[in-house]
């Protein structure tokens, strides 16, 4: 660990400590009712008890399973569709337009339809997540494949790379920077749609984080609401590190990017 990394870690820690400090000061000022503004301590206490009685780990597992399955399906549909629409005008004019339209539709809007079609089941949840993921992944993939410099495809053709080989060994890796950012965006959309679905829909097959958040509000347990929000943020950060950071490191090393404007 270099002095530079230590310095960055200290700065980041100080920043978050200061945030909590300000929060605690606001609680101590007693200007707001503890029902509206719970103390950091009570949030930590809720987290401790919810972990101890198993309700929080269970809800996290339920949510993550829905998220990962829905996201995987969304990518599995969106990625090939994006490649196809970049290659065939017919797909661009049909599915491409549809995707563009549906991407602007907030995924909460799918919930009434999902409930009518699937009832209060896991499938309704999955449907909303898939709808939230697919279109943004498809559009990012399409953009990525179109941005590839023509000379790569030409060079590949002269070396005898045609058809499927060219797709796998040239088009896909060449659009990797766009694929990764598209998949990240898809992940964010999936996460948002799932939370919306879980908050609005009670599903008997399992309580997710969104449902815990919802019941926190119903019970006026603001420390529960804030604690769950924290968990949601932390999961988002961890997922980013675990799922995408390795790819981005590879990307930056190979392409020589990622230094920003420093």
């Amino acid at each position: 660990m270099t002095a530079e990394t230590v310095k960055r870690a200290v700065m980041a820690t100080a920043f978050f400590a200061a945030l909590v400090g300000v929060w605690q000061l606001m609680v101590w000022s007693r200007r707001w009712s503890p029902v509206l503004l719970p103390s950091p301590g009570s949030v930590v206490e809720y987290l401790r008890s919810a972990i101890a009685d198993g309700s929080l780990p269970e809800a996290t597992l339920v949510t993550l399973r829905r998220l990962l399955v829905g996201y995987a399906i969304g990518v599995a549909i969106g990625l090939p569709l994006g490649l196809l629409s970049s290659a065939f005008r017919f797909v661009e004019d049909t599915m491409g337009v549809l995707a563009l339209g549906l991407q602007t539709l907030p995924s909460v809007c799918w919930i009434p339809l999902a409930l009518l079609w699937f009832g209060q089941t896991e499938n309704a949840m999955l449907f909303v997540v898939v709808m939230g993921t697919t279109w943004s992944v498809m559009i990012a993939t399409d953009t990525g494949a179109r941005t590839i410099p023509r000379v790569y495809a030409r060079a590949a053709r002269t070396m005898g790379s045609e058809g499927l080989d060219r797709w796998i060994r040239v088009v896909l890796p060449a659009s990797l920077p766009f694929l990764i950012s598209g998949m990240k965006q898809g992940w964010a959309f999936a996460w948002r749609s799932l939370m919306a679905a879980e908050i609005y829909v009670t599903i008997l097959s399992g309580f997710g984080l969104g449902q815990l958040l919802h019941y926190g509000r119903e019970l006026n347990a603001m420390e529960q609401v804030i604690a769950i929000m924290l968990v949601i943020v932390v999961i988002g950060l961890l997922a980013d590190k675990a799922l995408f950071a390795p790819w981005e490191r590879f990307l930056h090393r190979r392409w020589g990017t990622g230094e920003g404007v420093r």
Partner: protein
């Protein structure tokens, strides 16, 4: 295939690589109308020959190279390679582009291996051996694991040369490969290219707008004029090799070629 051994050998036999361009024409439709890029071009490159195509921008020299590579179809006329009509790209005619066109998602060795993966009958070890031989040939074996963005412009073009030579094509097509390099790097590459051409006995067709470069490298220099692209003159460069770009005799040829070239810069031809 004893390719790895051959790459290291000082000289070798010429095996094929004859190019015949016969009455090739090509039109392009643009927003401003139809442009005749090439008009009835005919030329022949002997096996193992080194021909340079020179001409001002817009004379269609890169289009002609694309047609010979099989990347573009001519409207009329035909191209044959060793007597076989060209209908598409072929591993016997590999291309080096102006921008190196190296793949940034692969390292140096990975780039040289790219074309070799499509050569049938090679094991993985043989492929790596051949790729390393060619990196040695361009003096970049120490950079096998380097990322493309870490290489200088000259090094990139060397890797591109290694990549094009590795599958052992009969013909090497070069589309202004040195135009983006600084003068010193370029001169070094002229020497290297002549050495490699001498050792590997490939047929080379090089497109350039640099008359001196053409006179230094080519056995023959073919001059194209623009609007429409036509063969205007052919010069045989009768000088011993290896040649030095700064040689007086090359300046003499370059001056003569430039004089002819200038006479085709009709005012309406300058866009």
């Amino acid at each position: 295939m004893a390719l790895a051994a051959v790459a290291a050998a000082p000289t070798r036999e010429i095996k094929g690589g004859e190019l015949e361009v016969d009455g090739v024409s090509k039109l392009f439709r643009t927003r401003r109308g139809i442009v005749q890029a090439l008009d009835n071009i005919s030329l022949r490159v002997a096996p193992g020959g080194f021909v340079c195509l020179v001409g001002p921008s817009g004379c269609g020299k890169s289009t002609l190279l694309d047609i010979i590579a099989g990347l573009t179809r001519p409207d009329t006329g035909r191209v044959t390679a060793d007597g076989i009509p060209v209908t598409g790209p072929d591993r016997q005619r590999l291309v080096m582009f102006q921008e190196s066109a190296l793949f940034p998602w692969l390292d140096t060795l990975g780039n040289v291996l790219f074309g070799l993966k499509l050569v049938p009958g090679l094991t993985r070890r043989q492929r790596i051996e051949i790729a390393m031989e060619h990196l040695r040939l361009v003096k970049l074996e120490r950079f096998a694991r380097a990322n493309i963005h870490e290489l200088s412009g000259g090094m990139r073009q060397r890797v591109a040369l290694a990549r094009a030579l590795a599958p052992d094509p009969r013909v090497l097509l070069m589309d202004e490969p040195f135009s983006a390099l600084d003068a010193l790097t370029r001169e070094q590459l002229y020497d290297d290219l002549q050495d490699i051409w001498h050792a590997r006995r490939k047929t080379v067709l090089l497109v350039t707008h640099n008359v001196r470069e053409a006179a230094c490298l080519g056995d023959r220099v073919v001059l194209l004029s623009p609007n429409p692209g036509r063969v205007r003159a052919t010069f045989d460069i009768d000088l011993p090799r290896p040649r030095d770009i700064n040689d007086q005799a090359i300046s003499g040829y370059a001056t003569r070629i430039t004089a002819v070239l200038k006479s085709y810069y009709a005012p309406e031809a300058v866009l």
